[in-house]
Subunit: 349 residues, 2 copies
Amino acid sequence: MTETTAAGIPSGSVLPATIDPLSANETASGIPSGSAHAPHLSATQTHGRPAHGAVDALRTALGLRAAEVEAALDRMMPPVPGAEARLVEAMRYATLGGGKRLRGFLATEVADLFGVPRARSLRVAASVEMLHAYSLVHDDLPAMDDDDLRRGQPSAHIRFDEATAILAGDALQTLAFATLADPSTHPDPQPRIALVAALADAAGASGMVGGQMIDMEGEGRALSLPEVERLHALKTGRLIRYSAEAGAILGQAPPPVRDRIAAYGRDLGAAFQVADDVLDATGTAEQLGKTAGKDAEAGKSTFVALLGIEGARAEADRLARAASAALDDFGPEADGLRALARYVVERQN
Amino acid sequence: MTETTAAGIPSGSVLPATIDPLSANETASGIPSGSAHAPHLSATQTHGRPAHGAVDALRTALGLRAAEVEAALDRMMPPVPGAEARLVEAMRYATLGGGKRLRGFLATEVADLFGVPRARSLRVAASVEMLHAYSLVHDDLPAMDDDDLRRGQPSAHIRFDEATAILAGDALQTLAFATLADPSTHPDPQPRIALVAALADAAGASGMVGGQMIDMEGEGRALSLPEVERLHALKTGRLIRYSAEAGAILGQAPPPVRDRIAAYGRDLGAAFQVADDVLDATGTAEQLGKTAGKDAEAGKSTFVALLGIEGARAEADRLARAASAALDDFGPEADGLRALARYVVERQN
């Protein structure tokens, strides 16, 4: 099952050599640790409260994991010849070559807790990154957010054209489900269909796309804090929560354990979004890789507008701590996930 | 499992009362007939060569089945309150209130061969109609075919707006997969995941969306007959073939039987498209419920352009007979499917 990434890094070892991690085989509360894999991020932190060193290590691990997810995506979307070549080219353009792969990291990092072979969890990671990429391609369209810049590059409809971008987004969503349905993702159809159901629930009208609709409807009108919270819980939160849950589904975790992972994912996603609003208000286009200050310009209600910069920072911090607290029954094998909760509120892009 | 349609017609009996059908319990070549349901269309036809009376009866059955599929779609997309209400409204607008439901008929009619409860096959039928509706919504967008009229009504982006149409299409695709993944579709996860895999294969970059891309690329340039055949085999053929196969998957048909059903669906889909080109060239907007002559105007290569009207009619006829021939191992229980093959080349809209 061991695979090698594009960079030649064995997929099982994602930590920089300078880290001397603790054993990840200890478990708390009977939760299986799995740990068929790489040691987890735990060297430099206090249980439940990652030190800054842990966040630095997480940053490195994120980069390495992103390379693994990138390689998996590259393998799963090979260029094709013929008249439809342009479609696959646009799908690759929209998906490869960038992004923090936060969702892919979450899926694989949680799956590691349950001893899932990385070759399987990388498929789930690639699938959710395809789904995320589709949503960005459609969100950037002129009729939607009309954004010409994405990850510092021309958006898909600028680099190609609108029709190709619409179709590439459509096909990326389809491929996300095709990837989950394939027996390579899990030999047992039960976890595969559970992944399909959970992704569809997170991505559809009562999840991500519902949130996008609320976002469109809310432009130019002042939303209340609960309205903004719900918007983001759907628009970005549900897919982030799914990413964490997906690792638990793939690992066939018992329902109460899956619920705790879902709670972690929910609070992490909320923290991510509040922090994103802070970044959008304070960052530069260069830092963000996308147009800065777009939300305020579009008359969108943001956490910063509702809470102020400092209030939003405090809320992000509170949510990150709540996310970590959901993992209290896990031991040091979950330290990477705890560090991630700090990372999403401390990142600069 | 018996359900009642919107019109109060029990879903098990789809034939007009004037038809006195043969028993559907006889089987040929060991293919299970199922027939937990309604008698099938077989009263007035010669085996393999449906008489005109059979096509008339099929037309009536199609109308009744369409009402059943419509009722299922209505139940599965209830209006929602709140800020995302508009999204669900657009999904319903794009999906309900029209269409021949050819794909839904195919899925349920094939499933009947294997004794699948109608409550289950209607879910599969609704799912493929959602997928089809999403493709039409996106196809009609200004950046795509730019068509203001669909089924005689304003297209979704005209009735709502472009952003809402993009999102409604996206959410309809997601809901199609969610519907298949739900245990109500089948208690066993194996057929459910097989349905998801088959739909994703039919709908994605190597299927329907690939065909849409080829269609866009081919505008204004003369395509050869093999190129046009491949375009349509992907753009419309794959989803029609899937619709037939889906009934066999749901019925857990053995692979050789599923293959014959797939061959039927493939040839039926091809016949449908050639006949569609004939209709587009000869019909009026009133007959078609959409703008007529669009293909020629857009400089698209059509079967009519390549074969002439009479040549295209002959080709459609040949394909319809090939479709029926794929069912030769089935008995009278498949007469409805044989009549459908005639119907798709004889219809006026």
